[in-house]
Symmetry: C2
Subunit: 676 residues, 2 copies
């Protein structure tokens, strides 16, 4: 629709007057009907519905931006298409579990990194720690299955806590989760890069660049919308599960003396630097608890499932827990069997694969699949973080923008914010998993605890006494107590190495969320108007406006502005700020010769300031006319080319900025189009 159309062209289109539902219209149809308000018989309250004109932008830059967005983000989806963006169990497992499953790639290693501080003696403690974590996983999975059934509309910790324990605890859960979602992206991406550098040491120097690029790709993929993400992410998740199961099978059969003859990787055990204390064992356990991060993703994402949502989600959660448990315990026990020792240049999974199958193509397959699931595990957070952001924005704890859905129905703001923060984290921590781990998991376990405590309270309050209530309370109560203890253990053992950062961020974030909420509440109170008879309740101070037109000289642009001012008001003041007396007198002569029937005020500015004197002048006019809204009319140049912008309008821009904080002053830009 690049060519201009006359009014007839519009009003003759029959569909342009229809009203009612218009689902499924094709983009490009034109169906705006415009009513000339002057044609209306008498002014009255009327409402007219039109559907947005979807023609593409007509300006060159607009078209370029549009095409770029089409290429990067994809064809826009209608709001009515949202219902179809649902995941099958198979896809949901891939999309929502990649975080949880991928943690098997580093959890065992993080346990060992702590244990080897006490030397070989401590090595066998990995088995009880691993079993303890697996038991914890089982408790958490069964607890969350109850949450899914209780909250089929999505039972993230924020919602569940808010529903049962109130606002403040729910904000703590929200802040803790947002911190951890961000860390999930940073840790997963960093661990994925570690898998790549283990297999190809030459890439070691580009760790940070690879990680940053990966975050960019995941961000863009998510802006394209969740269903496509599902398709993209299903493949690597299943490749990883398959690969790990085969690797473990090969490992364990060789242990039984069947099949391969493994050659365990030999690494020198570092010398003992710490005695084997209970604290050290707890610290190793706390590091291993990162295996549980991401388990809550499924209960958070119930609405993304196909119907019956709750049943499908609960089944998927059980499947995920089982797979996660098998792989984590399998890797841990086999690592113990081969006596593998962590080393800065090669991950434990890489060592394990090399021990079992050597540097065969299958070894590279395992590394690639690990890198794949890890790089993509970040994706779980890209579903969860924006969804939590939406809930918080809906409840007015975050800016409105977190509620807007982009072209592809994804919550673009949350996605972009997450990408930016996690990208910054990766750069600051130089894509090092060990540096990030101490910050990690604190938030998740705080949220676990609050969520399970809420569920326990809910059973007690809503369910009648009986077997059902006892079972429910027992499961969630056990979950709450266990995850609560683990949270304390994590905070205590990792406090000095990094958990303190989270313990500062979470309260600050809660304070900030409350502050935003209180602001929006106050604004909404100020803006409230009673629904009826608004004509009689019009706000004061909007009588006929007085107009001030600051001009630079007498030319076509300032004449257009002056004429506009005269059209909207009988009370027009033209004003000029002069640096030099001579220029001022020259303008005075021109003004008097011009025949314009308006007074001109010239402000001499001995210090060559322009905006300051103008603002003071406007303020003084405002003091003289306190009952009026004042209008400042600024002639503004519209250059023919964007690169000409720096050559014009600086004064208009600065004046607008200076006037922005003055209430009661409307600022109007009157454009003057430059031809070249």
């Amino acid at each position: 629709m690049g060519t201009p159309r006359g009014p007839d062209d519009v009003s003759h289109e029959p569909e342009s007057v229809e009203s009612g539902t218009r689902r499924g219209r094709r983009p490009g149809d034109r169906y705006i009907r415009i009513v000339r308000s002057s044609e209306l018989p008498t002014p009255r309250s009327t409402t007219e519905f039109v559907v947005a004109d979807l023609t593409r932008p007509t300006s060159g830059l607009g078209r370029l931006y549009h095409r770029l967005r089409l290429f990067v983000i994809g064809q826009p989806l209608q709001t009515s298409q949202a219902i179809h963006e649902r995941l099958t169990k198979v896809k949901a497992l891939a999309v929502l579990s990649s975080d949880a499953l991928s943690s098997t790639a580093y959890a065992t290693e993080e346990i060992l990194l702590i244990l080897v501080l006490a030397g070989t003696l401590a090595y066998h403690d990995i088995l009880p720690i691993g079993i303890g974590i697996a038991a914890l996983l089982a408790i958490v999975v069964f607890s969350y299955r109850q949450t899914i059934h209780a909250y089929p509309q999505g039972g993230g910790s924020y919602i569940v806590t808010k529903d049962n324990l109130g606002t403040l605890p729910s904000l703590v859960a929200a802040a803790a989760l947002m911190t951890d979602y961000t860390l999930t992206v940073a840790v997963s991406i960093s661990a994925g890069v570690a898998a790549i550098t283990s297999a190809a040491p030459a890439t070691q120097a580009y760790r940070v660049e690879i990680a940053a690029a990966a975050i960019l790709v995941v961000t863009l993929v998510n802006l394209r919308g969740i269903r496509e993400s599902g398709s993209i992410f299903a493949v690597p998740t299943y490749l990883f599960i398959g690969g790990m199961v085969i690797l473990l099978a090969l490992g364990y059969t060789s242990w039984l003396g069947i099949g391969l003859h493994p050659h365990p990787v030999q690494t020198a055990v570092p010398s003992v630097v710490q005695p084997l204390t209970l604290f050290l064992i707890l610290r190793a356990f706390a590091s291993g608890c990162t295996a549980l991060t991401g388990v809550e993703a499924i209960s958070d994402g119930v609405p993304a499932f196909q119907e019956p949502q709750a049943d499908n989600a609960a089944k998927t959660l059980l499947w995920m827990g089982t797979i996660l448990g098998i792989i984590f315990l399998g890797v841990t026990v086999l690592t113990y069997h081969f006596h593998l020792v962590p080393n800065a240049n090669e991950t434990i999974v890489s060592q394990l694969a090399r021990s079992v199958v050597g540097k065969t193509p299958f070894y590279y397959y395992i590394q690639a699949a690990t890198a794949g699931i890890l790089l993509l595990a970040a994706n779980t957070s890209f579903s969860d973080f924006p969804r939590l952001g939406f809930f918080l924005a809906r409840d007015k704890f975050l800016p409105h923008q977190f509620m807007y859905r982009g072209d592809r129905l994804a919550y673009s703001t949350g996605i972009v914010v997450l990408g930016l923060i996690s990208g910054t984290l990766v750069v600051i921590f130089k894509a090092s998993v060990s540096a990030l781990i101490p910050l990690y998991a604190v938030g998740v376990f705080v949220a676990f605890t609050l969520s399970q405590a809420s569920m326990t309270y809910r059973w007690w309050k809503k369910e009648p006494r009986g077997h059902r209530r006892t079972t429910g309370m027992t499961i969630n109560g056990l979950g709450a107590v266990t995850t609560g203890i683990v949270a304390l253990v994590i905070i205590a053992t990792k406090f000095l190495t990094g958990a303190w950062i989270v313990l500062i961020i979470v309260p600050v974030a809660v304070w900030q969320l409350r502050k935003i909420h209180s602001h929006y509440e106050k604004v909404s109170h100020q803006l409230y108007v009673p629904p009826e008879h608004l004509e009689k309740q019009l706000p004061p101070g909007t009588g006929p406006t007085a107009v001030i037109v600051p001009i630079d000289t007498i030319n076509r642009a300032s004449l257009v502005a002056i004429e506009y001012a005269r059209q909207i008001s009988a009370d027009v003041l033209v004003v000029h700020v002069a640096d030099e007396r001579e220029d001022a007198e020259d303008l005075q002569r021109r003004w008097e010769r011009s025949g314009l029937q308006l007074p001109l005020t010239i402000i001499e500015s001995p210090y060559r300031e322009l905006v300051g004197p103008l603002v003071r002048y406007i303020e003084q006019v405002q003091e003289l006319k306190p009952d009026r809204l004042l209008t400042v009319v600024l002639p503004e140049f519209v250059p023919a080319h964007l690169y000409q912008i720096p050559l014009h309008n600086q004064t208009a821009w600065r004046l607008r900025t200076a006037l922005w904080t003055h209430s009661g002053i409307a600022v109007t830009s009157v454009p003057y189009r430059l031809l070249d």
Copy 2:
């Protein structure tokens, strides 16, 4: 003037109506008199002069900014005070010669760096090269003395060339000079840092940081105004001159066997990597020509001298040439005598001082003085670049901003731009003098040539035949031919190592300058209005405006905007874009109950786009009313605190941006002040 005043308070002040000159008024006096235009008997062309109200900003942020500026930049100066900002010869020598004099700190070294490529055999060629450069200096100095007398209002190459050879050559001179001024800053600062790192090798790692900080300091000092710079810079310049004269005296007397017994620094001569060709000797000569950069500064800066300006400037130039020649030749010959060899970690001047006096306090004095004059030599460019920028802006070849003088009468824009570009250069070239040198001096010699050729032409054209004309033409002609040949030598010998960059930048800059000029010329042609009877020549298309008010919901802010729209026009359209049908119907019900006698158009946006549909709607209204200027009235929130800005107004801001390139659409922000 924080408290509001009534009209009486203003109009009773007797001085508020006086007109005529008001030089010397103290800031803080209040002398705006406001005429209520409604009080005027009949509209007529009147002009009223007032002097700017100089009260300080009343908002918290405004006051903070004001105080910060006062601290960094200093108390503002009135335009009428400009006349006093003049330099004595002694100060002018310091301010305008630091660039030229400081080049003695690296010129000898740059010659040697090239010569030693051919080994010890080539070493003695430094003497003829040094003498050649000194002779060239004498020619240039005598040529420029004639320029000073011919152009006592300031004879920069741009002005002289423009006056005699026309616009295009003058733009070439201007572009060449601007390039070189920028390089002067980068080279001087880098060489100054090299003097520091020679004496204190531990600082080597912070080269770039020290250089960047130095540029920042010089920029700020220049924003404070030139006279204060003079006082600050006089000291290091004279400390350097004194120190070098003493060092040379000690060196030469020891050569004669009197006084000290020097211990020349021994450095291994690097192996021969190139044969001793004429090209190599010319390249060494070209590198040494950097000694001449900055010589033109004095003729450029004649207006900064006290009266009689031309005589004072000519005398100062002669003094500067003499001092420069003595120090440069003195260092070069003594370097030859001691057989010093360049080395990456220590400058030649440092080696020389160490050879003569050892690591005594005097050695450190020399290093400090060298660093001082070098770091401050950059200051010459901070006088010249903004002045050239002013001339170019006055002639409409650069944006207007280059003409504005800041609080302290300095051309702030030029100063800030120079600081930014040279800072970037220092970072890119890692503060390495040797890396920057190949780009350097090309521009200066191009400008020399054009300037001297212009002077030659001027003698021939303006002066009657006779002895005076012959002498004048001979001196300037010799200058033009010599500097022209040197310019070609520099380009030829340094082409591959960096001069090509300058040969790209200069034509691009000339093209850009011409482009800006042609834009301003076209604009001024478009904006022209004949001086008389403007009432009858008012521009078309500014009849009574139709108004569109986009609203989000019905609240106080949108009511204020709607009421404003009704005050300025009888033709008001209210429009709302709805994502969800339900919200739209809810708004419709509220609108119909409200009793507002205005039609509301609701645009359904199935793709949740907000700005696009609004813009298309506005465009279509505009097509229906092609003879009118349309006004879009945007309700805009004015938050109580700046940090609340991200919580509001995104839509208003985006809509304004989207409408900006549409001509014929005035955009009005109607503020609604939020209380908290």
